[in-house]
Amino acid sequence: MSHTEEALPKRAGQQGLWVLVAVGMSLALLVSCGEDEPKVEPEPEPQVCEASQVTCTEQTIDRLSLLSTVSTGEVREEGTTAGEFHTFVDSRAGGLTPTMSYTYLRFTPTGLTQVQVHDQAALASTDWDIAVRRYTMRVNSGTSGPSCVAVANTPEGTTFASVTSKSAAAGEFKTEAWFDASCTLIPDDSGLGGPATLLGGFWTYQSCVEMTGRIFIVRLADGRHVKLEVTGYYEPSAQQVCNETHSVPQPSGSGSIRIKWAFLP
């Protein structure tokens, strides 16, 4: 850049129109060869993927009722075990017909931190890893966002404590894909008509949202891995009743998501 700026005045007075041509070519070269220039910005965090184009965005906005109001739901850490987090997320989003965006979150060494972004902007943001509203939880990849966060299941019966490495994954890591090629929704198997998200297996629905205890392994965009279990959708006592009796007492405190998670070595 500085080289071009210095050369311009000298040639401009001597070559007339040719100088303009030369400048144009120089600018073109700058654009095409810009990546060869020394970088002055700090190195970005290592990425294992480039931001990708999210497909079926308009259908996602409509089907998932994506909004442009940032969630004000509280996010706080409740865990006390070193290296392990238990994060509370107020995922009510204004009620059963939500009036706020999903809560967008990023896994950090100090806990799950909220990313201040609304739904429609999140479709173009790689800043978040996981999003939650009510009982719908999704990661930033595929039809959900431009990043490449992927999820693998673990074998049924796996406990949170027993997962010590990503090798506990059963099957491949997958990215979100709740639309087919023609943007027709692929629903979950609950019968409630929601999208088939990768983390949707944390709950089942009989007459209330029961926890399955399933352990997921999440591969983040920078290559780190996280083990994750959703421990509740209702307040703990109500969740226990729901899990045991398939019925939840009212008031239940629905929309009180709790996620137990830890980075894997």
């Binding site: 409509d62 017909t97 009036t99 019968g191 008509g193 019925s247 239940s252």
Partner: protein, 508 residues
């Protein structure tokens, strides 16, 4: 769609919502629905999907006065009805109230021209004992208060029959009385049975929305429509033609406001014709059926109806007036325009199929101008702009614009406390569209229209000023423009219709 799949679409909703009333029905999981259907299980069966009667619970039944319904109840245990028996005939009054309510509801729907569900004698041994329509009074424990469950169909996914579950005593619910609760549930839930007599798989917006309408139509003093109205009016940005997901999609119940509009605007016949048409076109979605019947019988279409509906919704709550829309719009609340200041120029304003974005700016200015310009490449079809001058208690006047190009409309607003702007997408198929919304009270229209300075008036050179060109000035301007072969920049196309918010005649 398979029976088991659309079975799931009928009973939607449970739990507390932001409205003052929770949806009536409880969703059933896929597994539950299939298991229940395969077992043919009524609540008296051990295989029944809860809520159901206990294994040792003694279940009695009574036939309704006209002999069309059989009401099943128990006297002991969690499902027990109130033991009160004022007439001393040995049958609890609660069961008799239910039987009479269902008879009244059935008579009413027949009077509107609807089919009633047929006999369930052929659905199997577990049919309640005979061909009468069965109503089971069971304890929903606060999670819901009713459910219509299908038993079978004469044809694939059409002409179906089922049975009803209804809360046994409504203890802990927010209804004004047991009788009122029974009237609401009977009119709402039995309308699902009426729908099933046609085609029950039209989705939650059509099934719940029209059931809420039916309840209101049965008895206008019932408050279900009023209670659910905010679930739609607060989220008019959602597409009315997409069923919401989730276990308590109160939006679908709130959509009763749309069916109420249809009923008041086109008559009961509009809803009846929709269901009749569903028999003729077994795979067509409800909004296409509605478009078909509106075109055929009223010379209207979905677009025209939805746009007028969006205007009627301005006259709700404190702004309701009978001559501006709903006959009882004062009870419908929750319209939630997004506040903006003047002037505002906002890009990427999205509007999707069968939805309306409402915005609100302060009134008081001589005029408020609104423009909406779709992004390049967007399909301009069926897009409308409404601009309404309002006070806290009424809609003063409404301007409207539509067509291709920039939509532009303005209203006199000096006597208005607010101006509400509605961007209406009347399509029933497609995806979201984006455009730039501009709102201004500037007399020149800036920044919403380009204010190109005209040629200098010669008088200006003398230091004088003129608020407007004189006659000679206009002539000179025209001559100059002609001489230069220039044309003034084309102003946005405006269709300004001042209606004093009167009810619009039939859309053509």
């Amino acid at each position: 769609m398979r029976l088991g799949a659309w079975l799931l679409l009928l009973p939607l909703g449970c739990g507390p919502v932001q409205t003052s009333r929770a949806p009536h029905e409880l969703p059933e999981s896929l597994g539950e629905a299939r298991a229940g259907q395969q077992a043919g299980a009524r609540p008296t069966s051990p295989q029944a999907v809860p809520p159901n009667f206990g294994a040792g619970e003694q279940v009695e039944s009574v036939v309704s006065p006209k002999g069309r319904f059989r009401v099943h109840f128990s006297r002991v245990g969690p499902n027990a009805v109130s033991p009160a028996d004022a007439d001393g005939n040995g049958v609890p009054d609660a069961a008799e109230v239910v039987g009479r309510a269902y008879e009244r509801v059935a008579d009413f729907y027949v009077g509107l021209g609807f089919l009633l569900p047929g006999s369930d004698a052929a659905v199997g041994e577990d049919n309640g004992g005979d061909g009468l329509f069965d109503v089971y009074l069971v304890d929903f424990a606060g999670r819901a208060d009713g459910a219509f469950r299908l038993d079978g169909c004469e044809e694939e996914d059409r002409r179906c029959v089922g049975h009803m579950l209804q809360e046994n005593d409504f203890t802990g619910y927010d209804y004004p009385s047991f009788e009122a609760a029974v009237s609401i549930l009977a009119s709402h839930e039995f309308f699902h049975a009426v729908q099933a007599a046609y085609r029950p798989g039209l989705g939650s917006v059509a099934s719940e929305g029209s059931a809420v309408w039916a309840s209101e139509r049965f008895d206008g003093s019932l408050d279900d429509l009023e209670q659910f109205s905010s679930s739609y009016l607060s989220r008019t940005d959602r597409s009315l033609v997409l069923d919401p997901t989730g276990p308590a999609a109160s939006f679908s119940y709130g959509a009763g406001v749309f069916f109420q509009y249809l009923g008041e605007r086109f008559g009961d016949r509009a809803i009846l014709a929709l269901w009749q048409e569903s028999l003729m076109s077994p795979t067509v979605p409800w909004y296409v059926l509605l478009d078909t019947v509106l075109r055929r019988e009223w010379g209207a279409d979905f677009d025209a109806a939805f746009t007028e509906f969006s205007q009627w919704n301005l006259s709700t709550g404190a702004r309701a007036r009978v001559d501006q829309g709903y006959s009882r719009g004062g009870g419908y609340d929750g319209l939630a325009p997004s506040a903006r200041t003047l002037p505002t120029q906002e890009a990427e304003v999205r509007v999707t199929t069968a939805s309306t974005r409402y915005f609100e700016v302060p009134g008081g200015a001589a005029e408020v101008l609104a423009t909406y310009t779709l992004n390049a490449g967007e399909d301009p079809a069926k897009l409308h702009l409404l601009v309404a001058a309002v006070t806290d208690t009424q809609v003063l006047r409404v301007s409207r614009a539509e067509g291709s190009g920039t939509l532009s409309a303005k209203v006199a607003a000096s006597d208005a406390s607010q101006v509400i702007i509605a961007v209406v997408d009347g399509r029933h198929e497609g995806v979201g569209r984006y455009g730039t919304l501009c709102l201004t009270a500037d007399a020149t229209g800036a920044p919403c229209v380009d204010v190109t300075p005209g040629p200098k008036d010669p008088e200006d050179d003398d230091g004088g000023c003129s608020a407007a060109p004189s006659g000679l000035g206009w002539m000179a301007l025209v001559l100059v423009l002609l001489a230069l072969g220039a044309r003034p920049k084309q102003a946005p196309r405006a269709v300004v219709v001042r209606r004093d918010a009167a009810r619009i005649r039939s859309p053509r």
